[in-house]
Amino acid sequence: MSTHAIETQNLGRIYKLRGSKKETRKELVALQDVNLTVERGELFGLLGPNGAGKTTLIKILTTLLSPTSGWARVAGADIHREPDLVRPRINMVSGGESSGYGLLTVRENLWMFSQFYGVPSKEANEHIEALLAMVGMKDRMHTKSSDLSTGLRQKMNIVRGFLTDPQVLFLDEPTLGLDVGASRDVRKFIIEWLKADKERTLLLTTHYMVEADELCDRVAIINKGRVLACDTPSALKQRLQKDVRFEIETSPLNGLTPLILQEQAEVRNVALTEIEGGARLDIGLVEESALARVINLFTQKNIKIMKINKREPTLEDVFVDLVGRSMAEEESNERSE
């Protein structure tokens, strides 16, 4: 039996967009030539901005969408030809989903979904109680789900995903909309759930770098439907160890652009975020001495430096290095296109 929980080969998906009758149908390439293998027992992260193709990939892997090219196997079965073998072995939770029925209590909603997987009622109810206790929601078991806050509702959804004891669980932005404490609880639970059985596999999509860094055994960075890099978080960051990174907060940039910085101050890469009263620059330099050239350029342009910090590379820096822009810039660029 293959040790791969997930395997994809040249996986692609093109959407045909609907225009007016006179227009020719446009095509949107959502996913292109994705080759990935996820081992059993692995916590694998898909990291990328909104619109990168993460959700499309998850939909394909969960048999909700057919690929337009390539193939994929999940839990040992082909997602396109054998969806009936894949479905009993998987589950999925999406961030911000509003599944279930508001008139039912938390327990009733979870029981209902467990029945769609053929779980014996008594065992389902026992497991629901244990899972709700684990996420700190046991006291809300008999609350109507319409009376839950967004965070509690998301916790209920997360419990729904784990309840059927899937071999492969897909979590699509699971901590979206959760507060810091709830996100921490969810991350803790994910780790414990995986540790308890080496056959379990979890694929997580997120655009929170810290989450990916903290949780994942390996991470694939995805942008515009393509996988740009795939490795352990530390190996990905290792690629940038030769860089020295600085975070600099300045007054308004007076026409200074990332391109000018790269050309005139030998900056390897730069991510720019506008902040109140100025800008925040995340700069990667080949060597520390190059900082003098950056400061010199600021002085020439009459830009004041408010704060300067040296720091270790993060997955965000890896993304900037691969794409040339920060994830936030990439998202706003995607929206404007």
Partner: protein, 282 residues
């Protein structure tokens, strides 16, 4: 049971999973919907107002007393038609909007079991409303029933329900495919069907071909046959012979359920191929 170390003794498959899915999906309708007590106002009091107005008109016109019973029965059966038209037909569309549809398709259960569960739940929940209207109407207007054949009455009611909810299951897939356009069609059909199906009068009063055309809605023949079976002079006012109506209802039940199965399979295939049917707008 440990939260992270759970292993179930078994997971049902095949017909056991099919049955479990039907019961689980019927649950929100049978139990959940009763928690909103507003149903008493909207689904019992409101239809009773329509029943009252027809009863007063018939009494003012000195119509035969059986007509009062016809109206009460029509008022009760209205609940089923409204449930099928608005709750059953639009349900898959709402399931898509809330994200449930994707979870249903992704689960190992059959989508047909989901639809059957919705239908069964709707039928049971609406039966409570229909019984309430019948009891109130009977007590208020002293309606007399005289059942000639309980067996035939049971057969007619069950066949009418299966055919009606089969139609609802068919419409559920159509609503999902055509979205808002189907919604407008349903809106457009509501009142004409009230008229053509004879909810408040015997359809024999309509021209033959109009009544025959309206018979595609299972409640038309269902109500006509039940009126013939429970009111003393019902046979005199019946559209077709009860046995013929039972046969037509049986054919409608088979056709509607079969077509709904075919349509649902088509919609599911389309959903996976195009990816837009499971897209919610959250």
């Amino acid at each position: 049971m440990n939260a992270v170390n759970s292993k179930y003794s078994r997971k049902d498959t095949g017909w056991r999973l099919f049955l479990k899915t039907i019961i689980a999906r019927a649950y929100p309708r049978v139990i959940g919907q009763q928690r909103e007590l507003s149903w008493v106002l909207f689904e019992v009091v409101m239809p009773m107002l329509a029943v009252c107005s027809y009863v007063f008109v018939y009494r003012a016109l000195k119509a035969p007393e059986e007509y009062i019973g016809f109206v009460v029965m029509g008022g009760a059966m209205t609940a089923f038609w409204m449930n099928v038209l608005w709750s059953m037909s639009s349900q898959l569309y709402w399931e898509k909007e809330t994200g449930n549809l994707a979870l249903y398709i992704m689960a190992p259960n059959s989508m047909m079991a989901i639809l059957l569960g919705m239908a069964l739940g709707g039928m049971v929940a609406t039966a409570m409303r229909a019984v309430a209207v019948t009891v109130f109407g009977t007590l208020m207007f002293a309606v007399k029933f005289e059942v000639t054949s309980y067996l035939q009455l049971f057969a007619v009611f069950m066949l009418a329900m299966i055919a009606l909810y089969g139609l609802g299951m068919m419409m559920a897939s159509a609503f999902l495919l055509f979205g808002r356009e189907a919604w407008h069609m349903a809106n457009l059909a509501q009142e004409p069907i009230f008229l053509a199906s004879g909810f408040y009068f015997p359809i024999k009063s309509l021209p033959f071909w109009v009544a025959a055309g309206a018979s595609i809605i299972p409640l038309t023949l269902g109500m006509d046959a039940m009126r013939q079976l429970v009111f003393p002079s019902g046979f005199r006012l019946g559209f077709l012979d009860v046995r013929t109506e039972i046969m037509i209802l049986a054919v409608l039940a088979v056709v509607f359920v079969a077509v709904s199965k075919f349509l649902l399979a088509y919609v599911e295939k389309l959903a996976v191929r195009e990816g837009r049917i499971t897209e919610s707008r959250r």
